[in-house]
């Protein structure tokens, strides 16, 4: 078999994928626009603006609120827990990060005072966790978590183990309560071998 024949076969062998390319292209672009409208940058600016309003209101109420203001602003501006680690496994270096953020349970009303108090407590707890006290450790993964990560690179399981330990502390503190929902995100970027 010649090189040209190998090329022809490989190119003919590309999966056909989908039948209505134009509609899917439009759908993909719409998704891009929707994501841009909800991009983290836009959300953050919006939240900070909203919180500046809240903090100003608190300052007007009294001194206790005034000292709480800046901390609250920090809590809302970024995910409550964020950590990144670099793993080198079999000569391959991978940079992994994890974020955990408290969000309001979508089933409760935004002005529900009980949910609000629980969310504040949850945010504060996660914000105060010192990531330096957590070591990646595969032994903390449950059987189910090991099953889920078994086909992933080891570094994914390692960064997940950080998240598991954070959530263990969170559960142990009894903070996964009414109105509280958690969103987590982790990612690993392969930085190559040589």
């Amino acid at each position: 078999m010649t090189d040209d024949e190998v090329d022809l076969l490989l190119e003919a062998g590309a999966p056909v994928g989908t039948s209505d390319a134009d509609a899917l292209d439009s759908g993909a672009r719409r998704l891009a626009r929707s994501m841009a409208a909800e991009a983290p940058g836009s959300l953050r600016v919006h939240r900070i603006k909203m919180l500046i309003g809240s903090v100003v209101a608190l300052l007007l109420v009294g001194g206790t609120a005034a000292t709480a203001g800046p901390a609250v602003l920090t809590l809302f501006a970024e995910p409550e827990f964020a950590d990144s680690r670099t793993f080198t496994i079999d000569g391959r270096t991978t940079s992994c990060s994890i974020t955990i953020q408290v969000v309001k349970d979508s089933l409760v009303r935004a002005d529900d005072p009980r949910a609000r108090d629980n969310i504040y407590a949850a945010r504060e707890f996660l914000h105060n966790i010192d990531s330096a006290t957590i070591e990646p450790d595969l032994s903390v993964l449950s059987e189910n978590e090991r099953e889920i990560t078994k086909d992933m690179p080891e570094e994914n399981a390692l960064i997940q183990s950080v998240g598991v330990q954070v959530m263990d502390r969170f559960y142990d503190a009894g903070l996964f309560r009414y109105g509280v929902s958690i969103e987590g995100h982790l990612e690993c970027d392969d930085e190559g071998t040589e």
Binding site: D20, L24, R29, L31, L186, C188, D190
Partner: protein, 182 residues
């Protein structure tokens, strides 16, 4: 220095321009095409989170997005709920379009898919990037975050293996077709 608004617009325009190609990239690599919608959404999400690292050069930006897509695919899918909801419409469209596919070249595709499956994952992905996604070897190396020399070596090894396995498979395939015709 770009303003925040300008950076936001640059990222939005990039995503809109690259979205169809990224969708095809994922559709070619997943078992269920619908999953491509979530992977695409996850890639956009990751890119927005790394907005400050967006390259200035337009071609570099495109390569950056594919590198993110490569990592998203490698990490597996874990789109957050917000992205999953946004991707719902595209998931549905992909599911519908899958049912309409008529593929007269299915036999050849199966041969190639099986041959690629015999390669180490990094070699197979390099071949897909070059032959299915239209990247040069240098670009493919950057998408995969490896040195050009590493990619070149991997690609040469992949082609040697493919030449043998495809030759064997094509022989078997021809024999099957011939016997069916008879």
């Amino acid at each position: 220095m770009r303003t925040t608004d300008a950076a936001h617009r640059t990222m939005s325009d990039l995503h809109e321009a690259v979205a169809p190609d990224l969708l095809r990239y994922f559709v070619r690599r997943v078992t269920s095409p619908e999953d491509a919608a979530d992977l695409l959404a996850e890639s956009f999400y990751v890119a927005w989170r790394k907005k400050s690292r967006l390259p200035v050069d337009a071609n570099e930006q495109r390569m950056w997005m594919f590198a993110i897509a490569h990592n998203v695919l490698r990490n597996g899918m874990r789109a957050a709920r917000r992205q999953a909801a946004l991707a719902a419409e595209l998931r549905e469209a992909l599911a519908v379009s899958r049912g309409d596919i008529h593929d007269p070249e299915a036999g050849v595709r199966d041969l190639v898919r099986d041959a690629l499956a015999t390669l180490p994952a990094d070699q197979a992905e390099l071949v897909r990037l070059i032959h299915w996604d239209g990247f040069t070897l240098i670009e493919a190396a950057r998408v995969m975050s490896v040195k050009e020399s590493t990619a070149r070596g991997r690609y040469q090894r992949a082609r040697l293996t493919l030449r043998v396995s495809l030759a064997e498979s094509v022989g078997d395939f021809s024999a099957q077709v011939t016997s069916k015709v008879r």
